[in-house]
Point group: C2
Chain length 237, copies 2
């Protein structure tokens, strides 16, 4: 499994993805699930993926190939909506290609597509295996894909549209930590991106592994704080 979360907030985007892929418990490996495309000063596009690894790798490859070719591609269309449409079409095409020999395999994938094209605000879409998609709005400023339930309560409790980006990054890392503790199929390292609105370039990816001291400190502080909070609650019952 996988767990990816993306937040579209007043000040920009915060993205966080784990990197564990498994087919059964014996076949565990790490693969990057967060990809960036950019034309500096003009647009930046991020993709996070969950689901069938063959499908998601094909989507990324086809996007890269189309950019090198003469076709209409995601770096030339004029809005993130059109990018979402193109990626959705690609998902449909690849799943249809692979489903020919379907032997009970799930070829589906979910994609979080985010980014900014000059002239628009940053936008965030969830693209379904069927190729259709929804967009995050102020009332629901985040999307999750993959093993998303363990890490949802903390997001629901603290994330608002105007949460500052650095606080939102901490929150998504806590959401990740809760998932890592409760579910073996989500694993380190994590890939994170913090994109400030109107930067129009890729800020680079922060990779967090088990030795990352800030992440260790955050996990310890949160675990200790939760225990203190719990133990300090008045005894209502």
């Amino acid at each position: 499994m996988t767990y990816c979360v993306a937040l579209k907030l007043r000040d920009g985007l915060v993205l966080c993805s784990d990197s564990r892929t498994n087919a059964g418990v014996d076949h565990i490996a790490s693969f990057r699930k967060l990809h960036a495309f950019e034309v500096p000063g003009e647009r930046v596009i991020f993709l996070q993926s969950a689901g069938n690894l063959a499908t998601t790798q094909s989507v990324i490859n086809e996007l890269q190939n189309s950019i090198k070719s003469d076709e209409r591609h995601i770096l030339m269309v004029s809005s993130m909506y059109e990018v979402a449409e193109m990626v959705g079409n690609l998902v449909r095409r690849i799943i249809k290609r692979d489903q020919g020999q379907n032997q009970g395999v799930d070829f589906g994938c979910n994609i979080l597509l985010s980014g900014q094209v000059r002239g628009e605000n940053p936008r965030l879409f969830h693209i379904y295996p069927q190729g259709n998609f929804i967009e995050a709005m102020e009332d629901t400023p985040y999307f999750q894909i993959g093993e998303s339930k363990y890490g949802k309560p903390i997001l629901d409790r603290v994330i608002r549209y105007d949460t500052p980006l650095n606080k939102a990054l901490q929150c998504s890392l806590i959401s990740m930590d809760s998932t890592l503790r409760s579910n073996l199929s989500v694993g380190l390292p994590l890939d994170t991106v913090v994109y400030c609105k109107d930067a129009l370039c890729n800020p680079g990816l922060l990779r967090i592994d088990e030795n990352h001291q800030d992440f260790i400190n955050l996990r310890l502080a949160w675990a200790a704080g939760m225990n203190d909070l719990f133990n300090g609650l008045p005894q209502y019952f």
Copy 2:
């Protein structure tokens, strides 16, 4: 959906179940999912159920009928293991009965069976739709069924085998609260039981609805505490 949690701790049992049943979003109703059987001074048995309501109601009815009859029943066997075996067999028989006309319906149910028979310690079992079952041990002192993921992180973080029963009840209510906030298919009222080891009688069920002042206070205190904890974290990133 449903969410039920049961904890078997050093001092006894803590059980908590929601009461929402739905088939689609239009067909929402409340049904009790926590049932007790007892012979005071000799044994007490609790059942919590998630899954197909027809199946779980049939299981409860058949257990009640068998107790009134001359058959071997759950109030006469000499261990909780044998009770689990009988309930497992019953689950298998009812699912087999109903599956005759299967039209893509899931007849499965999961059951948390707990209680104490004189001469044994309290025990807790998770009975699967296949009728087989596992037992909670000191290392893993709790089981969940139904919509369990949202409420798992808080249990993983604070519950130990020696957590006092009143703290454990608070923790399972917080776990319920996290689930209620993040998932519409789990709903109030909640049914809870706190059983002290060797009491060998049903302590009675505490029903918690949206007007229960202690539960309101607990939810507010936890939400405020979580926000304070989050906002007070050092800025690691």
